[in-house]
Symmetry: C2
């Protein structure tokens, strides 16, 4: 593992993107979103994901020049076509528009069809919270999780993001609907570790903590069994209906051909309803109630979603982004 300054990482990625057809300022913007993801400690969706992103540009899934277009406007709601542009730029533009519309309407929603993988979902939650609004967004994915009661992967792991602005550190939840991602299973397997809790089914149909056994059956466990299964299914339905885009059942089950996704971005501006100071106090109170509660393990205080991100962000900004040597060599050779 080596550490490379944020600016150098961003510049390197931007140069590669320009070579692939990106134009200014979208090359820098797209590169920045990848660098920020690694900086925030979500390594699976930052630099480690960049080679796969480049592969989807080269195979035509992602069109570097395509920009999202508005199809229908109605009040506080818009339906967009992502035109298969870069997923992170599309998502960032959609959330930016939802934020702007929420200032005028209190709440606003952008539904976008025909977009690509948004990489780290939490990015758009932090974006909303940095603008002092509550952000709620979700995406569908290719079919990669069996529904509860089924054995075939026909639902997506459809990440859901909810972000709450707070001066002393935003609260940002970013959760997929499988208990573990394939990326997480691989990490545990490489370290020869069992999962901390059951994460899927083995070849005999039994719940297991063995990551390799789950990779073989492809029977990931939905978050909370029947609950996450149902939640993934309704989020998919809402995203596809509102955007008039694909549902998971119409998306190719192949990470390199996963495209034309449907996403929803909701922003709520709490200041339109009144007392911003009181709202800040409320958010602080909730955080404090967790901090002050008795931990299960001495010395390991209960954390709120997003808390760890701030610590890692500061550290990685200061020391440089931690990058796997092989990944960095692969990127530099792209």
């Amino acid at each position: 593992m080596q550490r490379i300054p944020f600016a150098e990482v961003q510049a390197t990625l931007a140069t590669i993107l320009r070579g692939l057809g990106f134009r200014e300022p979208r090359d820098e913007a797209c590169a920045r979103l990848f660098a920020e993801t690694t900086c925030d400690g979500v390594y699976s969706h930052g630099l480690n994901r960049f080679p796969r992103f480049v592969a989807t540009i080269r195979n035509g899934c992602v069109d570097p020049l395509a920009e999202p277009q508005v199809r229908v406007r109605f009040g506080a709601m818009e339906r967009w076509d992502g035109q298969r542009g870069p997923g992170n730029l599309n998502a960032h533009a959609a959330m930016a528009r939802a934020i702007a519309l929420s200032h005028e309407n209190g709440i606003a929603c952008i539904a976008i069809a025909n977009t690509n993988h948004w990489m780290r979902g939490g990015t758009y939650g932090w974006q909303a919270a940095d603008s002092s609004v509550i952000g709620i967004c979700w995406t569908n994915t290719m079919p990669n999780v069996p529904p509860w009661g089924g054995v075939e992967p026909v639902i997506g792991n459809n990440p859901l993001v909810i972000a709450v602005p707070r001066a002393r550190g935003h609260v940002v939840l970013d959760m997929a609907m499988s208990q573990f991602s394939y990326g997480a299973l691989e990490s545990y397997r490489r370290r020869n570790e069992l999962l901390p809790v059951e994460g899927g089914f083995d070849a005999e149909g039994k719940l297991t903590r063995n990551p390799g056994a789950i990779e073989q059956t492809q029977r990931l466990l939905p978050t909370g069994f029947w609950k996450g299964s149902g939640l993934a299914m309704v989020l998919d339905t809402v995203a596809a209906m509102m955007s008039l885009g694909n549902a998971t059942c119409n998306i190719a089950n192949d990470p390199l051909r996963e495209t034309a996704l449907s996403q929803v971005f909701v922003a709520m501006d709490p200041r339109t309803l009144g007392d911003a100071e009181q709202m800040e106090r409320i958010a602080d109170e909730v955080v404090r109630s967790l901090e002050n509660s008795r931990p299960a393990e001495e010395g390991k205080p209960v954390r709120y979603p997003g808390e760890n991100t701030l610590r890692l962000r500061e550290q990685n900004r200061r020391l440089g982004l931690p990058v796997d040597e092989r990944v960095w060599a692969e990127i530099c050779a792209l």
Copy 2:
């Protein structure tokens, strides 16, 4: 178990409510919501819950005459004060207003503070879907679940409801953020059964399927471990901030004193964005993709959220509502 016609159940409850100070037509409306909940098969929150509801009227938590008031209007968003009126009537009024506002704005949101337990959350999802709009709502609750990494119940089980309209049967998800409710634990214990999956911690801090052991420690497992814990916390924060109401940490940890809750009701009108027929096809496709997928157990097809409700509703309307004799005797003596 006896069966009593829907109309007789509703009339009986309405008479009791009139005796407690409810006026027309709110006596009938409140009674109907309880009867519909039992009719839909959610027995824990229908008639079985009615005696406790009456107790909270008698002890002053619920004011039968109080009606919700609008505090602030801004675009597609409103902040309400529930004035500690009956929770189900307040929630129904809030969702009705969100639905109406969504027709004008595409999306709309009502945040209500100072309300009471909404009984079955799914009610307001069905209400939205029956009006052909997507409904998303959630409530906070008293602290009744330990956060992930903690041992004290400082977060609520904060149910989340997402409903999608569909001509051949709405999709309605109604999930609390604990894997099992206390009501469910009690049912399993009375039947001398283990839970189907781990539902909490025993006295030694180990995950267990023994319902009685969890009732004793009060360490319910959040849905999906750290995920449901985080989701409960952000839903609570958003509800309290937007409504300027209580967060879970300010709500009494006592089922008979649980009051002044905060709730959020969002409605999205998909028809404002265009092609209603195409939307219907999309919802049907998602449902079909589950129906056609291979079940884990032969003869037990994968179900979508809400599917079972329609079957039970039809059956209970036809045969009469199934009522526990002791519960019915208790209600008739109220």
